[in-house]
Amino acid sequence: MSDEPVTGVQSILPEGTQPTPMLPKGLKRVPSGVDQLATEHLILNVGPQHPSTHGVLHMLVELDGEEVIAAEADIGFLHRGIEKLAESRRYHQMGTILDRADYVSGFHTETAFALATEKLAEIEVPRKASWIRSLVMELNRCASHYVWLGPVGMDAGAMAPFLYLMREREMILDVLEAISGSRMMFNYVRPGGVVRDLPAGIDAPLRAWLAIADKYLGETEDLLGGNEIFRARMKGVGVIAPETALAFGMSGACLRSSGIDFDLRKARPYCAYGEIDFDVPLGTVGDAFDRYKVRVEEIHQSVRIVRQLLDGMPEGEHTSKVAKALRPPAGEVYAAVESPRGELGIHLISDGGPTPYRLRLRSPAYYNLGVADELLAGGLIADMIVSLGSLDIVLGEIDR
């Protein structure tokens, strides 16, 4: 590595000193975790039982006073071996375990798996099934963003917005329950289509939500984004430069808030997204406030998408004929959807048997969390909580 260019302080190192190899673009330090032998600093264990770790995340934090010197995400407290379990499940049974991976937006994992299976087994999907999938995914995205927006306010100390957003989320969950029969563990999207058609009369509760969604969200925006204290807490905190976001493979709103325009719904349209008109909001600075703004705007866009999907819902079958004991030919495929957290991919390897040979879940939050080491160092404890919250981590999906 000695032929690599030497930069900064290292260029004035005394003769004979070995320069450290250059760091990858976007990194300030070698992500070697917390030095637990540095006794002059305080080592703080944040979590796994802590109000603001959004599940069972354990952050190992090295503190100097209140300043974070180094931080390390320790995950795995929710590891259920979903990838291993998937190897013993048939294709139509997979929804039950995949819902439990990203439990906040199960439809996205289900759809990614269905898309992968359909690609592998060459199954045609009726147009209506694609539209229903898009509809439930967008509803799920709003529900998921509500569950992000509320707690990030709580991380900053504001309790009220969380409970206001729960009210809207409840309306969505009621709709999703009417559609799929479950509020969170849907098991509704299957290879070939969806389990059953949209129920009659689903229009009314959906339109009721559409009528208030923008207005109520605007109120929450006033309460959070319009508040000086909230702005002071979020602006300039947890800044992720575009190259840092790329270096850590971040995707979704975290990547877009750094100013990189990448949304799978636009880049590789799947389901009904090719026929729908919507915008992809982008950030400029890449701080926590940008991530807040991008996600709020995404909810507005989702409302727009749901309205179009509802107006243009095609007639027809909700699923194509698929054998119960599906045996896709041997092969390997990758299919991905834009989940609320980013690119959620299913990498499926089949050996021609009734169960997948290997199923890999490319979890967006897993990669988004990878930036923690780089992101949190240098901030205060309070910044750490806000930065971590702004990444939108879901531990079920990270640990799998």
């Binding site: 990858p24 291993k84 270096a247 990189i260 092969g331 990758y334 990498h347 890999r360 490319r362 640990d399």
Partner: protein
């Protein structure tokens, strides 16, 4: 991007590889020891987005798949290397820091190692867990699991 183009890029960097276009996309197979050089070459060619690293137990060895993408051109490339059980592949974190967690995960769940990793600890499981993504490790119920006691 056809797999042959990727193989040409790698050949220019001095890494021999076997390209093939599959249902998956452009797949390039190469020696495990050269994967760090190969990925460094791809990064320099604009493959700026690292998606995933995971391992598969093929029954004879562990196959590691590196998935990278050129965001601007939307080209996906899958690099596949084969390492023996308990074998090793060089850590590629200096090209793609995103791989840090994925390497730790692959190391513990498949029993391979990644020399050069800055923080080579276990990630998801505790000390003493089997590398259970190997086919030889059966799915067991909670009652059957016995962690080694001191």
């Amino acid at each position: 991007m056809p797999a042959q183009r990727v193989a040409d890029i790698l050949a220019a960097a001095g890494v021999p590889s076997a390209p093939s276009d599959e249902l998956l996309g452009a797949v390039v197979r190469l020696e495990a020891s050269r994967v760090a050089d190969a990925l460094a070459a791809l990064l320099a060619e604009g493959f700026d987005f690292f998606l995933d690293l995971f391992g598969t137990d093929t029954g004879e060895a562990i196959e590691l798949t590196y998935h990278v993408r050129a965001l601007a051109a939307l080209d996906d490339v899958f690099l596949k290397v084969v390492v023996p059980y308990d074998g090793e592949a060089p850590s590629v974190w200096r090209s793609y820091p995103a791989v840090l967690h994925a390497e730790r995960e692959a190391a513990e769940l498949l029993g391979v190692s990644f020399p050069g990793h800055p923080n080579p600890k276990r990630l998801l499981t505790t000390e003493g867990c089997d590398p259970f993504l190997r086919k030889s490790v059966a799915v067991r119920s909670a009652e059957e699991v016995r962690l080694p006691r001191e």
